[in-house]
């Protein structure tokens, strides 16, 4: 049951984000771009870091 | 009453709240700065004192920034006239204040005694001087400042900067300093133990008693000081400039509001009660109660100045009829309405997360933790 409520809460947040995104995209397209762009930059950079760990692991113990 | 008059009055009150918030929160940090050399005899003791406010000084300082921003947004003409008129004093305030963040952040970064002593004295200066200037600025507002306007509202200050340190302003400056020492001491009592605690407690008692005595002195002085009275002016709800009113000056006129509304006497009483009961609370080792009573004392003291002057905010001693009042220096209705909306949303939010931050960092600051924590000041 707890998971279901969590699911509902997230669903609600997602809907809210979509509505806000539509409004913001309409009147403040660059603000919207900043929001999306910043999230993207942070996540790609984070993923790049995690990827390096994998590469280093490969280097240390190359798969046979 | 029309909406604009209500908004004007509301923003006068909100500005008061901000000035109180600033005095309480920033004054507390500055009090710690002033006391740093005296409650801490060894380097570790000083670091303990510094770290009681370490996580909070930056957030607290925003009260100061917000105070400036709110005057700018809600009373642009006060911001313009006061900041430029009190130029040299404002610069001294600014220069001492901008050393403070560096003092916190850089002091313990290097081990040298000379380095640390130098920053300690910087922190002393940047705690002591701004609080004196803060109080002296309020004293000067009560006293009147020599300025006048051109037809296009360009302001001219005609006094010298020495006159800003007149005897009355020095007394109000010392009231402010005493209260900041009281609050700094109260914070130190709450977050330290041992020798630092004991010395801080003495500072609280001293600050409270001297503050109360000086506040009384300032009160008696004000009854002889020339006060300002609005004789003729446009309707408070009208859009106006300070060029359209008539103001007279009469000795003791600052007490007229109290005469007309005797309930206002409760405001200075609150100031005295806060300081004196707070001293008792400190004597009885109740740091949290001491802190809150000190906050009430600030509310009483600043409230007293506001109650005496209303609707005046910055009277002109050289051309009284061009004095700045709530009605003629305030922003437009539209701006005030928007600002009210933002304030209503964000001030509760700020209070909520600020108290959370204090909750997270609760408890006594111990010398062992500081020496182990590389992030400590």
């Amino acid at each position: 049951m707890k998971t279901f409520w969590l699911f509902l809460v997230y669903l609600l947040i997602a809907l809210l984000v979509i509505v806000l995104g539509i409004i913001l995209g309409d009147i403040g397209p660059w603000y919207f771009a900043w929001l999306v762009g910043t999230v993207m930059i942070v996540l790609i950079s984070a993923a790049g870091g995690a990827l390096l760990d994998t590469q280093e692991d490969e280097k240390q113990s190359p798969r046979a | 009453m029309e909406a604009y008059v209500i908004l004007k009055s509301l923003w006068w009150l909100l500005l008061g709240v901000l000035l109180m918030g600033l005095a309480i929160m920033v004054g507390m940090d500055m009090g710690v700065g002033t006391l740093l050399r005296f409650v801490g005899r060894t380097d570790t003791e000083r670091r303990v004192a510094l770290n009681t406010i370490g996580p909070h000084w930056d957030g607290n300082q925003v009260w100061f920034i917000l105070g400036g921003g709110a005057i700018f947004a809600a009373f642009p003409l006060i911001y313009a006239t006061a900041f430029s008129g009190l130029y040299v004093v404002m610069l001294l305030l600014l220069w001492t204040m901008i050393v403070r963040p560096l003092g916190f952040e850089y002091r313990s970064k290097l081990p040298g005694t000379g380095w640390r002593n130098a920053w300690d004295w910087m922190l002393f200066l940047s705690g002591f001087l701004p609080m004196v200037i803060y109080g002296a600025a309020i004293g000067n507002m009560l006293d009147g400042v020599p300025f006048h306007f051109d037809w296009d509202m360009n302001s001219h200050y005609t006094g010298s900067f020495i006159t800003l340190f007149n005897p009355f302003a020095v007394v109000t400056g010392l009231v402010s300093l005493s209260l900041s020492i009281y609050m700094g001491g109260a914070m130190l009592m709450g977050r330290t133990e041992g020798a630092v605690y004991q010395r801080a407690r003495k500072a609280v008692i001293g600050g409270g008693l001297i503050g109360a005595a000086l506040f009384a002195l300032a009160g008696i002085w004000v009854s002889f000081l020339p006060g300002y009275q609005l004789v003729a002016a446009p309707d408070p709800g009208a859009a106006q400039t300070p060029l359209q009113q008539t103001v007279t000056v009469a000795s003791g006129a600052w007490l007229h509001n109290f005469g007309a509304h005797p309930a206002l006497w409760l405001v200075p009483v609150l100031g005295f009660a806060g300081m004196l009961l707070g001293t008792l609370a400190a004597g009885n080792h109740k740091p949290i109660l001491t802190w809150w009573l000190g906050a009430l004392a600030w509310i009483g003291v600043i409230g007293t100045a506001g109650a005496a002057m209303f609707p005046f905010m910055m009277p002109s001693s050289s051309d009284p009829s061009q004095s700045l009042t709530v009605w003629n220096s305030v922003s437009s209705e539209h701006t005030l309405a928007w600002m009210t909306g933002w304030t209503a949303v964000f001030v509760p939010l700020v209070l909520w997360y600020t108290s959370w931050a204090f909750y997270v960092m609760r408890g006594k600051v111990k010398s062992e933790t500081i020496e182990a924590d590389e992030h400590a000041y």
Binding site: A46 | P76, A80, S84, K109, H334, E374
Partner: protein
């Protein structure tokens, strides 16, 4: 009445203190999000090294942050202390974003930065991560509101002049907040901060890699900063173009100065790659041109005309003539707000009020009614800012931007192959790149603010009348004070920064077993050793 020397000194003081402030701001804007990215990896993978990274870079960040906060206080004071007429004239609309900045952004940033530094032991991993994100969001929202305020000075949207209060007043808040200039400017500036932080982290990491120190930390920081930087640089260039597009329409005089366009050309106009502009002769003494490039660059079409200096000055003459009755009427209204005739005259001419103010400077006794056609011509010439410094600042900024893009692309290629440490030229270059984004940021501000001249608020309030009426002595005193204090500050900051970079992460007593690893390339993730 107005002393030209005082205005000039006030301008110098504001420019110096603002440029100085902006040495520290970009690093704050970008570093906070980079720290958040590092901490995100720590929280999601649980690898200790990322915590060390967040803490080490966090320490450098805080050294920088303290000065950002300090010098920011100056900015908040300076509008009132030195630009009092300006403050009274636009405080109603300009003060609002500044106050909201404090309320919404600065409180958030400052409260949580304390927890970020002191809360490692007291908060859960996720709580601390959220705190770090809130610091990043707070610092960038601060920038948002400041740039909304600046956007208003560049392109005054959402305001109206009220002759009863003799000032500009807010009448449309959303128009102020969503002004295209404010939007582009915010994103451009914020992302320029990301670029600055990336170059900084990349440079310092390269320094460690060159000396084979702290390899685990340096390689990961290098990788993250390179990716962060390449995306941010692309964004900064995109937004720079958008800003030129929007600004070109809102501020044709700035655009003409940026491109040293003295004469209006039939589209498609040619682009000056380099030039030696002469303000006095109103022409370029020498140019290097590419034909047909300017028009599509600025207007994104081939047919729209881009007005040159000659056209703009001719337009200014008309607007000044139309503005003179507005100033006269305003003077009447100042004495008697109920003067219906003056109000009608003001309403008819208020669109050009600012141009009326512009000629007031040259009119005898500063009475616009007495202005001669010679005075008007002088004022009309004023509407073009100083071309040469704007033209060249702009070119330096763009060149630095392109240089950084090229550099980041190279860095990304090598770091993705995980052999950046083998290319010593790249690492050395990375070190040399550290000053580049700072120069670019400062040049950007020079273009923005010099290009706005002669106005403080574009076409509304001329700079010459915006300053406080101080004596020269006061200005010399304050300038000397700032010079002294700020010189000491930068020396102390640089000393600490270099010292803590040299000491490296090991100096901050981290418990990670990987720190200070002497042998090159060999590294073991902290998690594996546990």
């Amino acid at each position: 009445m107005i002393n030209g020397t005082v205005v000039a000194l006030s301008r110098w003081q504001f420019a110096m203190t603002a440029l100085y402030h902006f040495l520290f701001v970009p690093l704050t804007l970008g570093m906070t999000f980079l720290l958040a990215a590092m901490e995100t990896v720590y929280v999601t993978t649980g690898k200790q090294i990322y915590r060390d990274m967040a803490q080490f870079w966090g320490k450098l960040f805080l050294i920088n942050f303290a000065l950002g906060v300090s010098t920011g206080l100056t900015m908040e004071f300076e509008f009132g202390t030195n630009w009092s007429f300006y403050s009274g004239f636009v405080g109603d609309i300009f003060g609002a974003p500044l106050a909201i900045e404090g309320l919404m952004a600065f409180f958030m940033e400052s409260t949580f930065v304390g927890l970020m530094a002191f809360g490692w032991q007291r908060l859960t991993k996720v709580q601390h991560l959220i705190v770090t994100y809130l610091v990043a969001l707070g610092s960038n929202l601060s920038a948002l509101w400041i740039l909304v305020a600046n956007g208003f000075m560049q392109d005054p949207q959402g305001a109206k002049f009220n002759p009863l209060t003799m000032r500009m007043e807010l009448h449309d808040f959303p128009a102020l907040l969503f002004s295209p200039d404010a939007q582009d400017k915010f994103v451009h500036t914020s992302i320029a901060g990301y670029v600055t932080a990336s170059v900084f982290v990349l440079g310092v990491s390269a320094y460690y890699m060159l000396h084979q120190r702290h390899m685990a930390l340096a390689k990961r920081s290098f990788r993250m900063a390179a990716l962060f930087g390449v995306l941010a640089t692309a964004g900064v260039i995109t937004l720079g173009d958008a800003l030129g597009f929007v600004g070109g329409h809102a501020q044709p005089s700035k655009l003409a100065a940026m491109e040293a366009m003295w004469h209006t050309e039939a589209p498609p106009a040619s682009f000056n790659v380099a030039a030696i502009p002469s303000q006095r002769e109103q022409r370029n003494l020498w140019t290097l041109q590419i034909p047909c490039v300017l028009t599509p660059l600025i207007t994104h079409t081939m047919t729209q005309t881009v007005p040159g200096v000659d056209t703009l000055e001719a337009q200014a003459v008309q607007r000044i003539k139309n503005g003179i009755p507005a100033v006269e009427a305003l003077k009447e209204l100042s004495g008697n707000p109920n003067d219906a005739q003056a109000m009608a005259q003001f309403d008819a001419h208020q669109a050009d009020l600012g141009y009326g103010f512009l000629v007031q400077r040259y009119a005898p006794n500063q009475d616009v009614a007495l202005a001669t056609s010679g005075d008007i011509a002088k004022a009309a010439r004023d509407v073009i800012p100083q071309v040469a410094p704007i033209f060249w600042s702009f070119r330096v900024m763009v060149a630095m931007g392109l240089l950084m893009l090229a550099f980041f692309i190279a860095a990304v290629i090598f770091t993705l192959r995980n052999d950046a440490e083998k290319h010593r030229w790249l690492l050395k270059l990375a070190l040399w790149m550290i000053p580049v984004p700072f120069v670019a940021c400062e040049m950007g501000w020079l273009v923005a603010e010099l290009g706005r001249q002669p106005w403080t608020v574009y076409q509304m309030l001329p700079t010459w009348m915006a300053a406080s009426s101080h004596s020269v002595g006061y200005m010399v005193f304050s300038l000397a004070g700032f010079l002294l204090l700020y010189s000491i500050f930068i020396a102390v900051e640089m000393y600490l920064m270099v010292k803590f970079i040299r000491l490296g992460p090991s100096a901050h007593g981290s418990e990670s077993p990987t720190r200070g690893g002497g042998s090159a390339g060999t590294y073991a993730p902290a998690a594996m050793l546990k």
